[in-house]
Amino acid sequence: MTTKQKAPAKVRSSYELWQDTIDASLKDARWHVYDCDLQRIVAEFNRHLSGTGGYSPLDWRIIKAIVWTESGGPSNPAWRSNPMQIGNSGDPGLTALLSGKEGGDLIMPGHLTRTLTTTSVRSSAQMNIFAGTAYLLMRMARFNIGAVLDDKDSKVYEVAVKIGDSLDKIARANGSTVDTLKKLNPCVSILKPGQTLKYQKAAIQKVIVGWNMVTTSTIATRYNVGDPSYAKKIDYCLAVMRKAPATGLECAP
């Protein structure tokens, strides 16, 4: 007679348990309630940033995967008011976005610079998604300081050089920049009194000069703080989304 030994139950790793949680999205429609909001919000950023430094449109499903990874799904009360988990006490991310010092103002469409506040980000899921997406894109953008033409006054003016003038002095006196003067007057090397220079209104500002490619790996490095499995989790969420049956949800244009 032989006795069959029962194999010990395998202890599931925390990552496998987390996968079980995400798998619930295949049978629970609540995981997809933000789909239209996500599409609308990401489309707004894509329109706003189109043409800046070779920007490639962001896939809204990336933000959905971040929402799932950050919140753990609709059983978390944060799902209803703080699904991207940005703006929690002690989180420097929202402060950086709203400070105006790290380029957040260039990332956000105009209305957001007025409506996105520490309060609105914690009380509205949509504002929280706006903030999280803006913070992600701010972390993906490459900034530099450069001359930016005044978008309200594109007229080309002329100014006569006076004794003692320099390009810097002329630029300051006329609301332009040295780079703008050099660009409009490429043949001028030495200034002579009476000479006429062209200029446009411009200012030295932070500008977006390029973008880091948005991949799950760059998101893990540049957006995430400390979760060592972040890229793997985003990849898993995207894979689960591909398996999910169509929701039949029609979003308003």
């Binding site: 202890v11 987390w18 950050e70 059983s75 929690n88 006490s89 002690g90 400390g226 979760d227 972040y230």
Partner: protein, 142 residues
């Protein structure tokens, strides 16, 4: 009203502490804000996340178990600047799997906890953080 509620929940807590064996366990969080660990031990609780580091002795102030939905609330008895929460609450979603479906909520103040309790645990105030957790089955609470 607040005084009455405080008295009530402390009384409930004392009863709970006297009647139940201490809950212990170790849980793991996920994501940019919530990645870290919650360890509930017999004497101390650690809740370590990206932006808050709590580790202190505690008092149980409430333990509710209705329809398989367990909720325990503890108050740290020591405060440190790195810890942003005075009170934390751990709840299970009532699903059949006890290894998943846990939510920890941190409250910056007693008032915040009481307001949230009245609001049905919506965790919408700025000094509240709610994180999804899975149980770290392979480990005890050390």
């Amino acid at each position: 009203m607040i005084g009455y509620l405080l008295t009530l929940y402390i009384a409930v807590g004392s009863l709970a502490q006297a009647g139940e064996s201490p809950f212990t366990g170790r849980f793991l969080g996920t994501g940019r804000a919530c990645y870290g660990m919650l360890a509930v031990r017999t004497q101390t609780i650690s809740w370590l996340t990206s932006f808050s580091q709590c580790q202190a002795p505690y008092n149980l102030i409430e333990r509710l178990d209705s329809n398989g939905r367990l909720r325990m609330t503890w108050r740290f008895t020591q405060s440190k600047p790195a810890c942003r929460y005075e009170i934390i609450s751990l709840a299970h979603d009532g699903g059949p799997n006890q290894d998943i479906g846990w939510i920890v909520t941190g409250y910056g103040s007693e008032q915040s906890y009481l307001n949230d309790k009245r609001a049905g645990y919506a965790a919408a105030a700025p000094d509240i953080m709610s994180c999804y957790l899975v149980r770290d089955s392979g480990k005890d609470a050390r």
